[in-house]
Structure formats: C-alpha cells, structure tokens
C-alpha cells in the first residue's frame, strides 16, 4: 500500500500549497519602485510629498527598443496628512502599487525641518517597508524642486546616485552622511544631537554663486558652490539639529572639522598660507591618521572637561611658495602651522555649537556617560542642556607623510 499512502501524502501537500494563497506575492510589473521621497510643508498643517519613481524600462539599457524619449524616473507629488497616508492617495492616480523598500533617500525641506521632523520620523520607522539604512538629506528650498531637478550626472539609474553620494563623503568630507536609523536614534538620544547632510539646487553660472573666499575650498553651503553645468544639485554642509528641530547650518569647512572631531573624516584637500613668509599657499591632502582620542573628566559640581586629541597626516600636493618645505628642517614648521590652523578651526566650531547652536553634535556625551554609574543619574544630569558649559580642549598633531611625486621645491629661474 505504499503507493496509496504516497498519493494521499502528495494530495495533502498539494492542497496545503493551495491554501497559502500567495498573499504577499507581487510580480515585478505590478510595482512602482520609489527611489526617493521628498518632504515639504503643505499649505496647512500637512505635508507635500514628492516621489521619484523608477522607470524600469530604461534600466535594461537599450534593450527595450524604440522608447528613446523615456526618462529614467517619473515624479509625482501629493498633499497629505502623513507620510504613509500618501500611499493610498497616490494609488488613486497610479495603477501600480507604491513600493518603498527600495527608497534610497528621504529629503526634508529646511522649512519643515525647522518645525521638527520627529513626528514624521516615527511614522517612517514604524512602517515595515522603509529601510533603516536609507540616506536622509536636508534641502535648502523645496524638496520637490530638488527631486525634480536631480538629474544623475553619468548614472543611468537614479538609485545609484544616492548610493555613490555616501561614498563621496569619505573622499572630501564636505558633508556628513546619516542614515534614517541613526537620525531616529540621535533624536531620541540623551548624549548626542543629530546632523544631516545639506543639499540644494544651484542654477545658472558662477555669478549666482556666493562670492569666493580667500582660500575657497569648503567655506560654502549647498547651493552656493560655483559649479556650472548639467548637474544642478549640490551636497555641501551640515544641518544641525536640536532634538528634532533644525537650528543651524555648518559650511563645508566646518563639516570637515566636525568629521575630524568625530573620527569620520576620510580625506580632503585643505590649504594653508606659507608659515614662514606668507609668500604663497600650500595645498595639502589631509587624511585622518588615527581615530581621535578622548579624555573626559567631571568634578563634584558636575563641570565637565573634555580633551580631544587629533592626529592628521597631510601630504603636500601643491606648493605656490618659494620655500622648500620638503626639507626635514622646514617640514616641522609646516606641520606645526597646520596643526594650529586646524586647532583653531575645531575650537571655533565647538564654540559655535556651544554658544549659538547649543547642540552636542559630536557625541561627547557618549564619552562623558562613562563617568556615571547608572543610567538614571546620567539622565538626571541632563547633559544636552549642560553641554554649552563644558570645557572642550582640542589638540592637533600632524605629520607630513609624503610630498607628492616631487621631492624638492626649486624656485623658477629668474634671469
């Protein structure tokens, strides 16, 4: 009778399969893949959401045939009361199911962020389709404009753009990167305030940009960088939050100091005036040699002192000065000057976060926390309110490792 038993078993199994009903089954051609979501203030107490939806037909790379006019993405906007209520509203106009699991970027407008984004964040974090590791940006101006004008420079797919932006931060350090999950945690933290990278639209040529700086490398906010061309979206600077509200903006250079102090600085070009006679600028490619060292102390009155030690490794990339800084006796002078300059920059930034912004974006609280035995005493201490009174000392050590491919500076022969 084994055959009968086998048939009975098979029948059972097959009928079980029919019970599954394939509830969550979705064919790829029934889905609209959202790549980026923009949040703007609505007319009343609500939101305007802008969605960038991928057009998969263009992703096949010419295989479609004929549809040369098609864009890589379609953009829709909807005014609604919350980030998830939009799904139903949008699906009245779009025949495919809006699918957020491939959303790479969430972009909040500056106006909205100044009012607070916490309520929207909690909705996003609760929804299972949202990825915790999507990037979050703050946009000067309207997020809707930003999404509409984002045209990937060389990328075929708009999704790749946001993935690559994250990597670029490690190369120049002009903006931080923040993932959705980190942003959420930082807005709830007792030890740290959140920061977000800053993005903006820049239109027109150089004359519309901010007037240049003396050593103009990073002292820009997004939208002011003098770049002309097809790529209209710029990412530079940092948006500083206190709790869930935006309180101020840092420019690119300050962002570098911020990244150095948190140990996330990858590398970047920086300039310094000739420390000997001020005859010309010297260009350095700086990388962070080691993670910063923190030492914290707290006395009986609750006064906190924090020592931060930075170690940087610059490399001479350009020298417009007549002095031969490659020489072993002159090199320390340049190193010393660069350390001083960086120290000053860090100091100014910390001063600003203490006095003007009143926000511990560096996460010093995480280090101070170790001095407390229980969480209760730590929370009662209210670090975020007492951060402005903390004494923060920064000392920078730098060592020039390489001088590029030239080993010696020889002045141009003047006859």
């Amino acid at each position: 009778m084994p055959a009968t038993k086998l048939y009975a078993f098979l029948l059972l199994v097959i009928s079980l399969l029919s019970l599954t009903g394939c509830w969550s089954m979705r064919e790829t051609d029934e889905i609209a893949y959202v790549l980026a979501v923009g949040f703007d203030k609505g007319e009343k107490d609500n939101l305007v959401l802008t969605l960038s939806i991928a057009n998969p037909r263009t992703a096949t790379g010419g295989g479609g045939g004929g549809g040369g006019e098609e864009t890589t993405r379609e953009i829709v906007s909807v005014e609604t009361i919350g980030p998830l209520a939009m799904l139903d509203l949008l699906n009245t106009a779009i025949d495919r199911r809006i699918y957020l699991q491939h959303a790479k970027a969430f972009i909040f407008s500056e106006d909205l962020a100044r009012e607070g984004i916490g309520r929207w964040l909690s909705a996003l974090m609760r929804f299972r389709e949202i990825r915790g590791n999507s990037e979050v940006f703050i946009c000067r101006g309207k997020a809707r404009d930003l999404i509409q004008k984002t045209s990937p420079f060389l990328e075929l797919s708009p999704a790749k753009q946001f993935e690559l932006i994250r990597k670029m931060s490690e190369i120049h350090g002009l903006y931080p990167t923040t993932q959705l999950i980190d942003l959420y945690l930082d807005t709830k933290s007792h030890a740290k305030q959140a920061v977000l990278p800053l993005a903006a639209i820049h239109e027109g040529e150089f004359e519309l940009a901010k007037p240049g700086h003396e050593r103009g490398l990073g002292e820009y906010l997004a939208g002011e960088v003098p770049v002309a061309g097809k790529s209209k979206v710029q990412f530079t600077g940092t948006a500083v939050f206190r709790e869930d509200k935006l309180v101020g903006l840092l420019d690119g250079q300050d962002t570098r100091y911020f990244l150095m102090l948190t140990g996330h600085f990858g590398s970047g070009y920086m300039g310094i005036k000739d420390p000997l006679d001020g005859s010309g600028d010297i260009g350095l490619r700086v990388r962070q040699g080691q993670k910063p060292k923190y030492r914290t102390g707290i006395d009986e009155d609750g006064n906190v002192a924090i020592d931060v030690e930075l170690f940087l490794e610059p490399e001479i990339t350009a020298s417009y000065s007549a002095n031969d800084f490659e020489r072993t006796d002159l090199k320390p002078i340049l190193e010393e000057a660069f350390s001083k300059q960086t120290e000053q920059g860090c100091h100014n930034l910390i001063k600003r976060t203490q006095d003007e912004l009143r926000a511990d974006i560096f996460g010093f609280g995480e280090k101070v926390k170790r001095k407390f035995l229980t969480v209760q005493t730590w929370e009662e201490y209210k670090w975020l309110e007492r951060y402005p009174e903390a004494q923060v000392n920064v000392s920078v050590r730098s060592q020039i490792r390489r001088t590029g491919l030239l080993m010696k500076t020889i002045p141009t022969r003047q006859e």
């Binding site: 084994p2 086998l6 399969l17 599954t20 394939c22 969550s24 089954m25 979705r26 064919e27 790829t28 051609d29 889905i31 893949y33 790549l35 991928a54 998969p56 037909r57 263009t58 992703a59 096949t60 295989g63 479609g64 699918y99 699991q101 491939h102 790479k104 389709e129 990825r131 797919s157 999704a159 790749k160 993935e163």
Partner: protein, 583 residues
C-alpha cells in the same frame, strides 16, 4: 453519403468482423483465473455463444485483480535428469529441450572418434556463441588424431577429457541442467555413445564490443578504459588493476529465463564479511525472470527505492571501481551491462569522479568546491529566483531588481509560467538531444540555441535574465558527475520551483529541511547516505577538500573494513622526518 457512412462506422460500435482472421486470445492461464474466481466455476470458460439475456452485463475487471497464480518454477522434468549412456536417448532429450529441429541456432553434429565408426559421438553447441577456430582444433583432435582406446565405454568421457582434448577448460558433467547451462553460455558439449557423462569444452567466442574509452564519465587524467558488456572482460579489467590473490569473484545466476550471471567482487582480506554476506543474500533472494542491466539489479537491492536519491553507485570506469574495492567496498558486475555497481555508497562519493585524486590535491579541491556550488545551483536556483522576485524584492540591489523588472515589462506571463516554460523547453532539448539520431545531431544545437536563446527573448515570451538563469542551472546539473544523482536533483528542482513561487524563502527553507531529513534517513547497505558528515564519523578529510595523497592514511571509517590502515603515518620514506611536523 459514402463518406458519412464510413465516418459513422468509425465512431460507432460494431461486432468484431474478424476480417484479419486473427484475434489475440486470452491465454488459458488467464481464463482459468478469469471471471468468477470464487472457485465454483473455474471450468466455465467464456463461450463464444451469444448469451441468453441480452443485457447480461459483466462488470469489467482490472487486469491487476486477476490472480495468475504463483509464478512457481515451471521446470521440465527432463532438465533434472542425468544424461543416459545411449546416444540416441541423449539426442532425443536435447531435441526436446531445445525444440529441435525448429530451433535453428542449436547445432548437433555427429562424428566418429578417431575415424572409428564404433565410437560414435555427438557435439552440441549454439552457432554464433562459439569460437569457430577453437572448434576446428577440437574436431581435428577428436576425429583425426585421437586413437580410440580399448577402455570401458563408460569411462570414455573422462578419458577424452584427460588424454585426447587439448582444450583449456574441459570437464565432465552428467546432469542436463548443467549441460544446458554450458551450451547456453557458448560451450561445446560432447556426448559419446555408451557413456553417461558429457564432456564440456570451453569454446566461448561471441561477438562483443572491445574495451573502449568511457563515454559518460570522461576524464582528462587517469586511465581511459571503460567496461563493456562482457562479464569476463569486466572482471579481467579489474583484476588487471588489482593484482592480488585476495581479490575474489563470486558468481550467482539471477533471472529465471535470462539466466543472467552476476559477479560479486571484493578483497577477501579487506571487505567486511558481513557486508559481502549481505550483498550475496540480497542478490540470491531475487526472483524475477530477467535482469537486463545493472540498473535493474540496483532497484532490486536498494534499501530505499522510493527515495529519489540513488543508493548504489554505478560507474563505467574500472579504475574507479578498483579504488572502491581497495577501500573495502563490494563491486557487483552484471553480465551484459557496462555499468558496475559499487556498494555501499554515500552522496559525497557520488559527487566525485575519482579524477580529483589523480591531479594535484589543490586542483582536485578547486574542482570539488566548484562542483559543490553546482550541486546547490542545480536544484535551488530557479526556486530562489522566483522567491526573490515574487516575495523578497528588497533582498537584491535596486539596480538588479530594476533590470529584472525592466526585462519583465513586456513579458505577458507571470514569472512562474515564464520559469516553467523555460525549464520545460530545456528538459525537452535535453531529452531530444539524447534520443535524436546521430545524423541529425547538429539540428538540436541550432533549434535549442535559436529557440531558447534568441527567438523567445525577441518575441517577449521570456525575459533574457531567465535564459541566463536556466542555462546556468542546466550547466550546473551537467556538472554533477553521477547521472542518477543529477536526475534526482532535476526533479527536486521542480519541487523547489513550486515552493519558491507559493511560499517564498519560507517555502524553500521548509523544502530544504524536508529534503535534508529525507536524505539523511537513507542508508546504502547499512551505511548512512550522508556519512561522513551526517552522522559524523572519524576524521576523514576526503569529503569536499582533497587531502594530498600521502595524507590518506586510513580508509573511510563508515565502511568498517577489516584493515583500517591504508598507509603508514610516514608514507614518504625519502623525507627525513616524514614531512609531518610533531608526529
């Protein structure tokens, strides 16, 4: 009208017109056991007369319900008799047994011993099975050179064997059963008038294939010989490799009608005696009318014939069988089959070709890891693809899901239909490619490549990504060296497609758990099928990673051979410390 009438005739019932004058009637055997098998009317045969009542409906019975009775041995009593001393009587028995003179293959030849008409003799043999040159020598010796002795007629056969015949295998037998067996195997049997015994001379020499290169198990390095259909040639091929007096070959005959010889080969001082006993017990217990191939025997002796996985290893390469015998396993050779079975077997063994041992161990390791990947791909890939594309789109990179989605935009079918369509066409190509006559072999490549690769995509029937997927799956399944195992995975693939498309990754993991459980429960001649990993046996490196040849000190633990040691701890005598540290 005529056409209409013919058409109506074709679809309406008519009494059998008996136009051909022939109807294949039920055999008597079946009729007796036929209707009303209650016993009361066994004699009531179905008469041709029309029945009295018009609507006397007899419920049709399934053929499987008919009891044909026990297929007991229907022996001819003559078979058990001994040969008589009268030549005429013997001739009569032979004629009756072989159905002479209708049966034209059997030749009986009369002769006089040593040109003396007083000594009559008769030779019986089968034309085509015997070697004519040997027979010529035989008759020369008997008819021309032999001097008829004066001895007792009754001892003539013995005398011929001892003094007169130069043949290399000659013996005297008397029972007709043995005589028939000998003649059927291609020997020549000599009867002498007045003598009760018969002389059997070995004259085997039938047409057969020579030793050729392996067809299904090709290798680059290693011996390039393959077994053929001749039992003796196969045993010799093995003995050629293992020149050892302990190599034992035992014969049994299975198959009531085909009388197939089956050889069991093992090393007497190595193979576990219980294993050998069990193999012989299973083979000898088989009652069937014929064994045509080792694959049939495999089904008769397998422990788990209902499981998809094969639990005996069939190979056509003598070097591979020799290596198994040297590990303490038992080889089973079926006469007429070029595939030799070795038992017990494990799944890991079925994923190996033996060639890995002939090349550097690093190369062998690389190939085996590659094969391990192929093993997984061959049954999981289409199911996983469906699960990911239908349920878990978040699992793969955005770029990839957009590429998949973009390709699917114009395809009118759901993904599952697409996959089944491609799998079905691939299976068709595979089967057709195997069956297509060699002359038209080139067609299959063109048809397959064009239809599957190009046209289907251009016609938007399937998406290009799926063509790649199915081809990779196909390649992976061809990379599995053992044909039966590849077959089982081919079938499992469809199970995983069903699970992946209805339950997603959850279904696939459930399927894997069930699959692993079913497989782990298998045994091959008392050895767990997944040994040495499930259950874990003593340290044995030769599973996926190949150890260098000088590290193979012990035989596989799970076979329990009489001697575990293959080579001493220090096998390379020329190295001062044996090449192994701290030993």
């Amino acid at each position: 009208m005529n056409i209409l009438k013919t058409f109506l005739e074709m679809i309406s019932y008519r009494e059998n017109l008996d136009r051909e004058g022939f109807i294949l009637q039920e055999t008597k055997d079946e009729k007796i056991a036929g209707p009303d098998s209650d016993g009361k009317a066994a004699d009531k045969e179905i008469s041709d007369k029309p029945r009295a009542k018009k609507r006397n409906f007899i419920k049709p019975r399934r053929p499987s319900e008919i009891n044909y009775g026990d297929p007991a041995e229907k022996t001819d009593s003559a078979k058990t008799d001994s040969a008589s001393s009268s030549l005429a009587e013997n001739r009569e028995v032979i004629n009756r047994l072989y159905g002479l003179p209708d049966n034209k293959d059997i030749i009986t030849r009369d002769f006089f011993l040593g040109m003396n008409s007083a000594y009559k003799g008769m030779a019986v043999f089968i034309d085509g099975l015997t070697d004519k040159a040997v027979q010529d020598l035989l008759f020369q010796a008997l008819m021309l050179f032999a001097v008829p002795p004066d001895a007792d007629r009754g001892k003539l056969a013995k005398l011929v064997m001892k003094a007169l015949l130069p043949g290399n295998q000659v013996k005297v037998i008397s029972s007709f059963k043995d005589i028939l067996a000998a003649v059927n195997m291609g020997d020549t049997v000599l009867f002498f008038d007045g003598c009760a015994g018969a002389v059997v001379v070995e004259t085997k020499g039938w047409e057969h294939r020579g030793v050729e290169r392996p067809v299904t198990e090709q290798s680059i390095q290693g011996p390039q010989e393959a077994f053929n259909e001749t039992l003796r040639a196969n045993t010799a091929l093995l003995r050629k490799i293992i020149k050892n007096e302990n190599l034992t070959t035992e014969f049994s005959v299975v198959g009531q009608r085909s009388q197939t010889m089956i050889a069991v080969m093992y090393l007497r001082d190595l193979a576990n005696p219980d294993l050998v006993k069990e193999v012989k017990r299973r083979i000898n217990s088989i009652k069937t009318d014929s064994i045509l191939d080792s694959g049939v025997l495999e089904q008769f002796i397998e422990e788990h014939p209902y499981n998809l996985h094969p639990t005996a290893l069939a190979t056509e390469r003598p070097d591979r069988v020799a290596s198994k015998i040297l590990e303490g396993r038992v080889a089973i050779i079926v006469d007429g089959s070029p595939n030799v079975l070795t038992v017990p077997t494990t799944m890991y063994e079925q994923l190996q070709t033996g060639e890995e041992m002939y090349i550097h161990w690093q190369y062998g390791t690389f190939v085996r890891w590659l094969r391990a990947v192929a093993f997984l791909l061959s049954f999981l890939l289409p199911g996983l693809y469906l699960a990911v594309v239908l349920y878990h789109q978040e699992m793969i990179p955005t770029e990839l899901i957009l590429a998949i989605a973009g390709n699917r935009e114009k395809v009118p079918f759901p993904s599952i239909v697409e996959v089944l369509l491609m799998e079905l066409s691939f299976e068709l190509i595979r089967e057709a490619g195997l069956r297509i006559p060699g002359v038209m072999g080139a067609t299959i490549g063109i048809v397959g490549a064009l239809i599957l690769g190009q046209a289907a995509v251009q016609a938007n029937i399937v998406s290009p990504i799926l063509v790649i997927l199915v081809s990779v799956t196909g390649l992976a399944s061809f990379a599995i060296p053992y044909h039966s195992l590849a077959f089982s995975l081919r079938i499992y693939r469809f199970v995983y497609i069903a699970l992946g498309s209805t339950l997603g990754i959850f279904g696939i993991s459930m399927g894997l758990i069930a699959h692993v459980n079913l497989t782990a429960n298998l045994k091959s001649f008392g050895v767990p099928y997944l040994a040495p990993t499930g259950p874990r046996t003593a340290d044995w490196t030769d599973i996926v990673t190949v150890a260098p040849a000088f590290f193979h000190e012990r035989r596989p633990d799970y076979i329990n051979p009489l001697d575990m040691t293959r080579q001493p701890q220090v096998s390379r005598g020329w190295i001062k410390d044996g090449g192994k540290k701290n030993d």
